[in-house]
């Protein structure tokens, strides 16, 4: 990877557009299917679903190679898929099976694959930003051109870890991008009740970092902004913050009654703010992609998810004698 300016959003090739669509569709199908399967009681632990926010993971990670790093959140399926983690192994992990990406001992909130630069979903709110400062410092000391991206929510942006990481990344001029997925609810609480005015861009400004805000439902907006931020970090320009405004289609966790949401809010969101529908309309109206291309991806993705669920259900449980393996990782 070299330090080159990112292409303008309009210069995406047909293959790149189709890949972006495949990633977003895979995330959507993965999450919709988990929503259904979780209700059967077969899946252990908690799951936090990412549906609705696909454009953010896809738009950011499309600029990252396998040598670049991502640190995720408790809502990490989308980031993991976009960073290239194996979908079947992710599903098996969520089902707690030995074939899982962490051998079934991590579950939804600890999906990680270092071979893909995926540092992990993270049960600690605000846990990702310090990790990317660490790998960012490594990249800087080694003189590589790797970039590290952390994802955090609006609630996580209040954590000391997040604010300390902004400070470290600014002070040490690290090749890091902080992406804040502002989906309007810290679990169930609006920012109006946990912040004296949420202004993430001004917070970045306070640490001397550039911060910008984009529409998190719009793949092209996220893609362009992330392209600039990642190219800046890769070429020695230092850290920056991108606020992506989006909303999730499901609750904080599966089983959340969502009494904090307005009646009809989710139906309205699904009708008017759907990144996949908007993407499909725009690329087909522009004549860059055919409906048939997208339909073929839809069919292929549906098969991938069907197979992943079938394999996960047929997988083996880890045995008690495996409980102490994979606890520590030797670098």
């Amino acid at each position: 990877m070299s330090a080159v300016a990112p292409p303008a959003s309009g210069e995406l090739t047909k293959d790149e557009l189709l890949e972006a669509y495949r990633v977003m569709r895979t995330i959507r199908e993965f999450e919709e299917r988990l929503h259904t399967e979780f209700a059967t009681g077969e899946i252990p632990g908690f799951v936090h679903l990412y549906a609705g926010e696909e454009a953010i993971a896809a738009g950011v990670c499309s600029h990252l190679g396998p040598d670049d790093y991502v640190a995720s959140t408790h809502r990490g399926h989308g980031h993991s898929i976009a960073k290239g983690c194996d979908v079947a192994a992710m599903m098996a992990e969520i089902y707690g099976k030995r074939e899982g990406i962490c051998h079934g001992k991590g579950g939804s909130m600890h999906i990680a694959d270092l071979s893909k630069g995926m540092l992990g979903a993270n049960g600690i709110v605000g846990g990702g930003p310090p990790l990317v400062c660490g790998v960012g410092l490594t990249a800087k000391v080694k003189g590589s051109d790797q970039v590290a991206v952390s994802f955090t929510g609006d609630g996580g942006s209040n954590q000391g870890t997040f604010l300390e990481s902004l400070n470290l990344a600014a002070a040490w001029h690290l090749p890091v991008v902080f992406v804040v997925e502002n989906n309007g609810y810290a679990e169930s609480t609006s920012p109006n009740f946990h912040q004296n005015g949420v202004d993430l861009i001004k917070r970045a400004d306070g640490f001397g970092l550039p911060g910008i805000s984009v529409d998190g439902f719009d793949f092209f907006a996220v893609h362009e902004a992330a392209g600039e931020a990642i190219a800046r970090a890769r070429s020695g320009g230092g850290a920056s913050l991108i606020e992506c405004k989006g909303m999730r289609y499901f609750g904080h966790f599966e089983g959340d009654q969502q009494t904090y949401r307005a009646p009809g809010e989710v139906d309205e969101l699904r009708r008017t703010r759907d990144c996949l529908a908007a993407f499909s309309r725009r690329v087909t109206e522009a004549g860059l992609v055919d409906d048939a291309d997208l339909a073929a991806i839809d069919a292929a993705v549906a098969q991938v998810i069907d197979d992943a669920v079938a394999q996960a259900k047929a997988g083996d449980d880890p045995t008690p004698d495996e409980v102490l393996t994979d606890v520590y990782l030797s670098y």
């Binding site: 005015g197 202004d199 400004d205 550039p210 910008i212 805000s213 719009d218 902004a225 405004k245 522009a286």
Partner: protein, 342 residues
């Protein structure tokens, strides 16, 4: 002085935070700063006798910060009663459109706008002939002014209460974009035809993407796209004529190369293939080509290669000339304060 004057307030929480902070050197305008501006605007409106204000509730900390400031206000100075409109926020321009429609339906006497060129454009599309006070919240604006909100509030209040004086209102121009099968759109400063296929992060800063540019006026002291036109042929604001500029692919095929501040911190050379005045009543067809149309510096419309579109000049909104109002008010007050003859 008319009784029960009412002023609308639109403060855009999304202004001053686009991608130009990343790709250029634009500064951040915080939402607490905007809340402070609204507070000072209200102080000015109250001093001028405005009794009610209607405001679009603004997210990202703006309205909560303003409410806290108002709740903890000390002193007895008159403030208008502030009512937040019942608009469910979508964090898109539709919020502003809906709010301005409601304000006009409620018969506001004026609307104060805090934002950039893009915010003012959205207000201008919906406000009809209701006078607007155009206040900048950023460093990349041409249409609104950077000025103290307290004074702007006094001037707006004088207009709203029928004491603005005969020079209070200026008729601005607008560039109207008409496309097949779409409602007409408008820009207050510039329309740019670009090669970018998608709207993306909206702001336009890559001059390589430009094909054509139309400006309603061109001030050599301004920053942004209109400065390209201004370096070729300055066009006075309110002068009735605009400019149509065609960009060249490279300097070798250019009729002129101009150096302009395309964004804060971004000075670049732009190659020009040709330019001509845009006369009142003249309708110019855009050269065909897939890409986007940027209105007042923001990519707004995705366009196929075979889409047909035209641009022409038209009347825009009525803007409050704060300096003129304050000059006339000063003159009137000076007359009143003179000692009685004899």
């Amino acid at each position: 002085m008319s009784a029960d004057a009412c002023v609308g307030i639109v403060a855009n929480p999304a202004s001053g935070r686009d991608i130009r902070r990343l790709v250029a050197g634009a500064s951040v305008f915080g939402n607490a700063d905007k809340a402070g501006m609204v507070f000072r605007l209200l102080a000015g409106l109250g001093a001028a006798g405005v009794e009610r204000a209607l405001m679009l509730p603004a997210g990202d900390g703006l309205s909560p910060t303003l409410r806290r400031q108002l709740d903890r206000r000390i002193g007895e100075a008159p403030f208008p009663a502030l009512e937040e409109l019942d608009v469910r926020l979508t964090s898109t321009a539709a919020d502003t459109t809906r709010a301005v429609e409601l304000m006009c339906a409620r018969g506001v006497d004026a609307i104060a706008v805090l934002g950039g060129d893009g915010t003012h454009r959205v207000v201008a599309k919906a406000c009809g002939d209701v006078p607007i006070c155009a206040l900048s919240t950023g460093t990349n604006n041409v249409f609104p002014e950077m000025r103290e909100a307290t004074v702007a509030g006094i001037a707006t209040g004088l207009v709203a209460t029928g004491r603005g004086g005969e020079h209070a209102l200026v008729r601005e121009a607008a560039l109207v974009v008409e496309r097949d099968g779409a409602p007409p759109d408008l820009a207050l400063v510039d329309v740019a035809v670009t090669r970018d296929r998608f709207v993306g992060a909206r702001a336009l800063w890559r001059h390589e993407a430009l094909r054509e540019l139309f400006v309603a006026f061109a001030d050599p002291g301004a920053v942004g796209l209109s400065s390209v036109a201004a370096q070729l042929a300055p066009m006075a604001r309110g002068g009735g004529r605009g400019l149509h500029v065609r960009l060249a692919h490279d300097a070798a095929n250019a009729e002129a190369v101009v150096q302009v501040a395309l964004a804060p911190g971004l000075v670049t050379q732009v190659a020009v293939a040709g330019f001509a005045p845009l006369e009142p009543g003249e309708r110019v067809a855009l050269a065909p080509g897939a890409g986007t149309l940027a209105l007042d510096g923001e990519r707004e419309i995705e366009r196929r290669g075979d889409d047909r579109a035209t641009v022409h000049l038209a009347d825009g909104p009525r803007r409050i000339d704060v300096d003129a109002v304050m000059r006339d008010a000063a003159a009137a007050n000076a007359t009143q304060m003179q000692p009685a003859a004899g």
